[in-house]
Amino acid sequence: MTRFLATRVAQSVIVLALMSFAIYALIGLMPGDPIDLMISADPKMTPEDAARLRELYGVDKPVVERYANWLMAALGGDLGYSRLYAAPVLDVLLPALGNTLILLGLTLVLSLAIGLPAGVVAALRPYSRTDYAINLFAFAGISVPAFWLGLLLIIVFAVILGVLPAGGTETVGGAGFWDQAKYLVLPVANLTLASVGGHTRYMRAAMMETLRQDYIRTARAKGAGRARVVLGHALRNAMIPVVTIIALQFGYLFSGALITETIFAYPGMGKLIFDSIMGNDFNLALVALLFATLVTLIGNLLADVTYAWLDPRITYR
């Protein structure tokens, strides 16, 4: 297991390195550079000024050379300076990452707490009225676009009813934990509604498949009652594929947060990435995207560990 973890961490580092170059090159390919933005902001700037600035910022060098320079600096702990926020990249990034992790963590817990039991209940009585009802909600959640749902939530709860804030993270002047919690309700609800349907469907499918297995029949032949069959025999087996899907979805959830965060003006990673790309903030976009990659990789690693814990047949050498 230790050896497996070491290998996987090494693999993750390689993936991260490859991704950093790919992202660097992609951003480099985008039309326009920061100097163009400066020119448009300051019409009095001469072409000579622009060329000087390009040389100063190193924008005129080939992409591989620029990447190598960036990498050396990054490995030395210098991730660069955000032009847009006029602050070191990490100072901008870490609070945003914290906000997003809170949003995603709450969403994941809530979505699993609702989706998994709902999936199990549906699988126990397939094609029953309960099953159809659960499926209806699951498909509704999957089908409704997240941005539309977000706008709807704002209209109903913030505009018409006025019980919850429409966006942000806290009331100006700060009123503590409960105040911040109030700001989380709508974005978390939005993301949860968008992801719970998928979790329900995956759990239902996995549970139905598991309940068809021979060993379930063996358990029943031993005299095991329904609860023992489902909780003692089926659940752990059914969770094995579900865990994989949840982990793979982590990256998806991360990108889903982009829309939600934009709608609710929630200062997280999604909004940060969006703003930095639109604003040609090279350094910030690059590091933010790399952090997004890192979070996804960690999610997959956690899935592998959970996997081994659930299924004794898997031995990591």
Partner: protein
């Protein structure tokens, strides 16, 4: 449904009496009867061999005794008399008390019949926990003892391993241990050695005989392999397309089969002394339950069939020597 002809037998020595058991499957083309009027008795310490080809209803009959027929199948008729109760009339809760405690089952595929994520020991001990309310340690100790009885070396260590860490033969031994841990009255074994190699099969067959002598359990032994049945059974029942076509003491049935299907099954077996020519064969294919011939189900493959056979289904009737056969043409 035909009247239960077995009423003339002394009822006292049977531990389980099955009468007119009927299992129906809903299919796209309507309902088909996978078991149709199946009747038999199980006696303590004796083995009834149930033989037949795919789709003859032997597995469904076994599952019906425990009321474990998978949907879309349903038990639609008959009685299963056990300890003064009709099992088919019990509540599901009461049936759970029978399963694994009084009647238990050994399945064909030891690879898939164990839960892959639980240890062998826990799975064997589970029946004791369910039925006798045994504590963890007590049940575990009993499981280790049972593993030793079925001939698994290092039982204490083996109890802590997972099914995939055992060989097929060891898993089948463990399955027998699991089935016998509550000392049931009846053991149903559905093709218990079909997935095993022949030298391992011999070990398992010996073990089952040994366990029967030790625990006095009545065994319903199901197999497609007439040779295995002939080595294990005291009495043999042959099924074809959902019906019992012949039932008799094993030696009599194998030496002098009465039903043309049983005769065919025995003759088609490649055997010593037959020589290397062509084998006798039963023409045609195993019938589709949704498209059975009129009258006797075997009539379209039977060398003796005439219009009478195609007009009405022959009932299972008594023949001399404690035998039963469902054929108008059965040689007396």
């Amino acid at each position: 449904m035909e009247p239960a002809p077995e009423s003339r037998e002394a009822p006292s020595d049977a531990i389980l009496e099955v009468r007119g058991l009927e299992v129906t499957f809903a299919t796209d083309r309507g309902a088909v009867k996978a078991a149709d009027g199946v009747s038999f008795d199980l006696k303590p310490g004796l083995t009834l061999g149930l033989v037949g080809e795919s789709g003859c209803g032997k597995t469904v009959t076994a599952l019906a005794l425990l009321r474990l027929v998978p949907p879309p199948g349903r038990i639609t008729g008959g009685r299963v008399l056990f300890g003064g109760d009709d099992l088919l009339a019990l509540s599901e809760r009461a049936m759970e008390d029978i399963r694994g405690k009084r009647i238990s089952m050994v399945f064909q595929e030891p690879t898939t019949a164990f839960n892959p994520v639980l240890t062998i020991g826990d799975q064997i001990a589970e029946a004791l926990v369910i039925h006798d309310g045994a504590g963890r340690a007590e049940a575990h100790a009993a499981a280790v003892g049972m593993l030793e009885k079925v001939g698994i070396p290092d039982p204490a260590e083996r109890a802590g391993t997972y099914p995939h860490q055992m060989s097929g033969g060891m898993r089948q031994r463990a399955m027998i241990a699991m089935a016998l841990i509550c000392r049931p009255d009846i053991l149903i074994a559905d093709e218990p050695t079909t997935a095993l190699d022949v030298t391992i099969q011999a070990q398992i067959l010996d073990l089952m005989g040994e366990m029967q002598r030790e625990f006095g359990v009545a065994i319903l032994f199901i197999s497609h392999d007439l040779a295995v049945i002939s080595e294990m059974a005291d009495e043999v029942m042959v099924m074809y397309a959902g019906r019992v076509v012949e039932r008799a003491p094993a030696d009599a049935l194998l030496a002098h089969p009465l039903h043309p299907y049983t005769q065919g099954l025995i003759e088609t077996l490649p055997r010593h002394g037959v020589g290397r020519g062509r084998l006798p064969a039963i023409p045609g294919t195993v019938p589709d339950l949704g498209a059975l011939p009129d009258g006797c189900r075997f009539s379209d493959r039977c060398p003796l069939a005439d219009d009478g056979c195609r007009a009405a289904e022959p009932p299972l009737t008594q023949a001399p020597g404690g035998r039963w056969v469902a054929c108008y043409k059965a040689a007396p």
